[in-house]
Symmetry: C2
Subunit: 305 residues, 2 copies
């Protein structure tokens, strides 16, 4: 037991829920998929890598990119959205790689992960690696730097995620897989195309007041207060700030999924708050996590042949 | 002062942020709009009603519906997405009505509201009413019932929203406008098309464990634990459960915006967890908040002529 009511389990992708077996049809409502309407083992049984990110456009771009990288590109293929029956999330697949959008913030990614974990479980997937590829604000790093998350920390810099269950707060661990992080860092060093570091990532519930920005609709603190807070975060090992890593780390760990978070920093928060980089530069930055993770997946799949 | 660092302000839509004036160009990043790239007063100065909801498809359907209701329907018009430069949110406008999607969960709607409040402020809008039209799980109500929120309560049934600012927790009030709620209820009684009640709405950070569901990837409690919790919620006046109302109520109140939350209940949580209603019935349910709010807006605008 890890204090979260979970037990070690032998199932390849763990669902820690004794009630699920009794469900005749498990409707994955926010994916518009279900066990009695879709043959999940046939559709997803070969999945080995799942990449998730906030933006549906970016996750479509990723599947196109990875298809080319893996020489699985079919020029006629349009990579249909597997979740076309809903607008909550978008999902694309090519060979062993699944690409899923998760929207912004902890609740949005948590809904997606509950249904993704059940999907992988129902599909009898084994040895799955899940990587979040996202954007973030950096602290003291050059914009465009990639941060591979060591631990996801809360706004008081503690490595924990608080889940409220039936009105009571349960604390969950937010460690990510250290060997996967190292492999990704080594991959980036071999690529030698952009600065990459391993560090802590702060996960917040809000983009403006929650991250000490001065440019939200409300702001009750001074620039000095803001900078004091961000410097304390940096001193605690925080390299970047985003809004999904804590629940992502916690839920992947509880399911026995090997997981990593790779985010590009769009700006240096010690120098400003607004994302005012040109569109082309932003596009370049947002491709960097895709390029690193694409290179890693290619290497792993080639290692299997 | 209301304890949140905000002061009464004379501006029609209040931004409580002294730093904003110093910004030459305020980039509303997640809308792909900005004060130096767009003429916000020309684009939005006439807005009187803003309707927000999770799903971009539903918010597009709403603008088409309200256009017909207000006889502003242009058969050639395609109601372009004003935020077409991004996939984070979708925004549509017809006359004085703005329709904006907000994704799922508190962080996602909070980002949208920060930028919406700044947009309305920059556009010099006055006397704006904001209504969230959403879906929810009901407690002890027939599916399809509309709930107009009196107070948004947290998972311990208290009417408050906790905002973390620079690592410290600030508690904000989640009252909604009682006269607007009454007007909406009266409107529904006149329509006489579906059951409508005023009651408390519980706002959670998670759809599965956070709402006591038995069908998530993880579940460490029994059906009895779940039902005990939901019955306690009902005894505390909770009629339905969703994931955005608390921060919506808090932020609208701080900005001086008249606000209401109107959600349809898709199921009775005392009888189950899965949303397994047929597609057509779900479609009908999801149109009900649109029909009520459309009728209310029409009545208000006709009252002005």
């Amino acid at each position: 037991m890890d204090g979260n009511g979970t037990e070690p389990c032998s199932s390849p992708v763990c669902v820690n829920n004794p009630h699920l077996e009794a469900l005749k049809n498990d409707i994955l409502y926010h994916f518009s998929l279900g066990t009695s309407t879709h043959d999940l083992p046939a559709m997803f049984g070969d999945v080995k890598f799942v990449c998730v990110g906030g933006s549906p456009w970016r996750m479509k771009a990723f599947i196109e990119y990875i298809a080319t990288e893996l020489n699985m590109n079919d020029p006629k293929s349009e990579y249909p959205n597997i979740c076309a029956g809903t607008d909550r999330y978008a999902m694309y697949k090519i060979g062993p790689v699944l690409s899923v959008s998760h929207g912004m913030g902890i609740p949005s990614i948590a809904i997606m992960l509950h249904e993704l974990i059940k999907l992988l479980h129902h599909a009898h997937c084994k040895d799955v690696t899940v990587i979040r590829i996202g954007t973030s604000g950096g602290i003291g790093l050059e914009p465009g730097t990639l941060v591979i998350t060591k631990q996801s920390v809360d706004p008081t810099f503690l490595p924990r995620f608080e889940q409220v269950i039936l009105g009571k707060t349960v604390v969950r661990n937010t460690d990510l897989d250290p060997s996967l992080a190292k492999e990704l860092l080594q991959c980036s060093q071999e690529l030698n195309r952009f600065e990459t570091v391993i560090g802590n990532t702060m996960c917040t519930m809000d983009f403006y007041e929650g991250q000490g920005r001065l440019d939200g609709a409300f702001c009750s603190y001074t620039e000095k207060d803001k900078l004091d807070y961000l410097r304390k975060a940096r001193d605690a090992g925080v390299c970047n700030i985003e809004m999904e890593s804590s629940v992502f780390a916690a839920m992947c760990k509880m399911s026995g999924l090997k997981a990593a978070v790779v985010c590009v920093t769009l700006l240096n928060r010690l120098k400003g708050d607004q994302v005012n980089t040109s569109h082309d530069v932003l596009q370049d930055y947002q491709q960097r996590p895709q390029i690193l993770v694409g290179s890693y997946i290619k290497k792993k799949l080639e290692g299997c042949n």
